[in-house]
């Protein structure tokens, strides 16, 4: 009994040590968040904070203080907030999909959100000034993010309708139909790219590699209700996902309303990935790698994988974003490139060390 106790503590597998892990991650995240505010190509660091504060409160007319305020509060702060949200949302979505499909290699793209969002984004970039000018006219500079969000959600909704038989949503059908719908969307995306001119093609390519450079307070404001919604949904997802690991019949035997749980999981994933793609384009790897990292130290219980994954995902995106804007300053690298450059080696290391690509991690 004692050594059992010891092992569980060492691997963060009981309630108390799970809280410890969350605490660790939260502290780490806070440090990284603060660093992301203090680091940037303008050379403005935390020394500027008091002056920026006084400028924000209207206590000074010093133009350099006004510049500090602009950089810290209007550029870096919303950017960091968005980055944290995207990281958390993608990590939760990844863990949810892996739990729902009972497959550690599942990623949020499986339910068609990303490919649907990409199609809508590409259409907006290529036809925004011609066939879709009404859309750009209505939504102005937010035409692209809104189109991406709508496209992603519509694709997932279509998929759920296709994969439903009466009241039941079959996971296997969902998976196969998801692959088909993604292929269809990719074909359409490819066709539109084929019609695009060189400048549009460059926009498309950059969008598909993800970036936080378009961050603004209005985007943050648009994201806040979603972030809150996700936080509220989380505790309701972890138990059903735990029960689902042995299959849907087993989850039902354990008292889970499986159809309801599946729909909540898919809706939460579609909303979070849709929102993340809308504000930052496509950022890969977070959804795949973060849940694995958490499972490695804390076990696969979704009561820890979901919240801890959210914090770790947020921190990782902020680190990647700091690198993205510093490595080639004053220019910026796409976030997706940095993320993959960090994520792929870590993932490879995990897989090789564990010696099992599917079951072992």
């Amino acid at each position: 009994m004692n050594d059992v106790r010891e092992l569980r503590t060492r691997t963060f597998r009981d309630q108390q040590s799970r809280s410890t892990l969350i605490g660790f991650l939260a502290v780490g995240f806070t440090i990284i968040f603060v660093a992301s505010l203090a680091i940037g190509p303008t050379g403005i660091t935390f020394d500027a904070l008091p002056r920026a504060m006084s400028a924000a409160l209207g206590l000074t007319d010093d133009p350099s203080a006004e510049r500090d305020r602009l950089v810290l509060f209007d550029i870096r702060l919303p950017r960091s907030l968005l980055g944290a949200f995207i990281g958390a949302a993608l990590a939760i979505a990844g863990a949810t999909m892996q739990g729902l499909f009972r497959n550690p290699l599942a990623d949020p793209g499986l339910i068609g959100v990303s490919s649907g969002a990409a199609l809508a984004a590409v259409a907006t970039i290529a036809f925004g000034s011609t066939y879709l000018s009404f859309w750009t006219f209505i939504f102005g500079i937010y035409a692209l993010p809104i189109a991406a969000m709508v496209g992603g959600l519509a694709t997932t909704a279509a998929l759920v309708v296709v994969a439903s038989r009466g009241r039941q949503l079959e996971t296997a059908t969902l998976l196969l139909a998801g692959i088909a719908i993604a292929a269809l969307a990719n074909a359409a995306t490819g066709f539109i790219s084929y019609l695009s001119d060189d400048r549009q093609l460059r926009d498309l390519t950059l969008w598909s590699m993800g970036s936080l450079s378009g961050a603004s307070w209005s985007k943050v404001a648009a994201i806040i209700p979603l972030a809150m919604g996700l936080l509220v949904t989380l505790p309701f997802l972890s138990r059903p996902l735990n029960a689902l690991i042995l299959g849907e019949a087993e989850a039902f035997h354990l008292g889970i309303d499986v159809e309801y749980a599946k729909r909540v999981a898919i809706a939460a994933t579609a909303l979070s990935v849709g929102a993340a793609v809308a504000v930052a384009g496509i950022v890969g790897f977070i959804g795949l790698i973060v849940p694995h990292l958490i499972r490695l130290v804390a076990g696969p219980d979704h009561r820890i994988v979901l919240p801890a994954g959210a914090i770790l995902g947020a921190a990782l995106v902020l680190v990647a974003d700091i690198l993205a804007r510093m490595l080639v300053a004053p220019a910026e690298l796409p976030l997706g490139i940095v993320m993959a450059a960090i994520g792929a080696p870590i993932f490879m290391h995990l897989v090789l060390r564990r010696g099992a690509a599917v079951g072992g991690i």
Partner: protein
């Protein structure tokens, strides 16, 4: 307690279950036997509430099972399926603890762990708590599932005075003799605690040794039901299983013993040549 009333399940043109009525009673262990494809597992899925009958009714203490919520059902019955797989590295303890996580149990985690340890000890898996479930043998996995179900029932039974059902789909299929015996002893104890138990069994002798009542299914219909002596008769079994079977009994009070007649070395020897 748990009662199937004229349950029929139709898939396409085929009747998988045809007008089957079964009644499980507290404290009694019912074994469900029959050849492959007779509808045993389907009947178990209907009894668990997982599958809705095409016609007929499933009742739990006077309530229609198809109108009960998943969590209400899980508060009254536990199910042990044939072995389930998972790709995630859960420990044995974490799998058994799933039995404490039924909505409405509202158990604090440390209490749940006590129940889980007790269930593991009962099934003979003491010391397996931190082993990885996905690295266990098939028989050990089966035992883990039984422990999970026992845990679920003992948590459910801690607060309310009601009867509880335990449904098992071939729980001893990949167990060696010693572990089969441990599981059977454990099921007997559960019956003595007042649980209504339904056991899908392939091993007729095991069923004969442990069950209070045996139900013999063939092509979705009940062919015979009652005590082991009544159901396990050579003529009936030979017809249903389409194979020459003889039934022996050393004395009138001991359970009957079923033996296949043509299973000797000459069969496999002839095939080898």
């Amino acid at each position: 307690m748990l009662q199937a009333r004229s349950v029929t399940i139709v898939r396409g043109a085929r009747k998988i279950l045809d007008d089957v009525s079964v009644c499980l009673r507290p404290g009694r262990l019912t074994a469900l036997i029959g050849p492959n494809g007779a509808g045993k597992s389907t009947l178990l899925r209907v009894m668990s509430g997982e599958l809705r009958p095409t016609s007929g009714q499933m009742m739990l203490d006077g309530n229609d099972v198809s109108e009960m919520s998943a969590s209400n059902l899980a508060n009254r019955r536990a199910v042990v399926p044939q072995v389930a797989q998972t790709a995630f590295p859960f420990t044995v303890l974490e799998i058994v603890l799933l039995g404490t996580s039924v909505p409405g149990f509202n158990l604090i985690e440390s209490d749940g762990v006590q129940f889980a340890y007790a269930a593991l000890e009962e099934i003979g898996l003491k010391g397996f708590e931190t082993r990885r479930y996905d690295q266990l043998s098939g028989g050990e996995k089966q035992s883990v599932h039984i422990a999970r179900a026992l845990c679920q029932l003992s948590v459910a039974a801690r607060s309310t005075e009601a009867s509880y059902a335990l449904l098992l789909d071939e729980p001893t299929a990949s167990l060696d003799f010693a572990h089969q015996r441990a599981v059977m002893r454990c099921l007997r104890r559960q019956a003595d605690l007042g649980r209504a138990i339904l056991l899908v069994a392939h091993d007729l002798n095991l069923a004969a040794a442990i069950a209070d009542e045996i139900i013999l299914l063939q092509n979705g219909k009940i062919v015979a039901e009652g005590s082991a002596q009544h159901v396990l008769r050579a003529d009936v079994l030979s017809r249903v299983y389409a194979c020459d079977l003889s039934v022996m009994q050393s004395n009138p009070s001991s359970p009957p013993w079923v033996l296949p007649m043509s299973l000797d070395r000459s069969v496999s020897g002839a095939a080898a040549e």
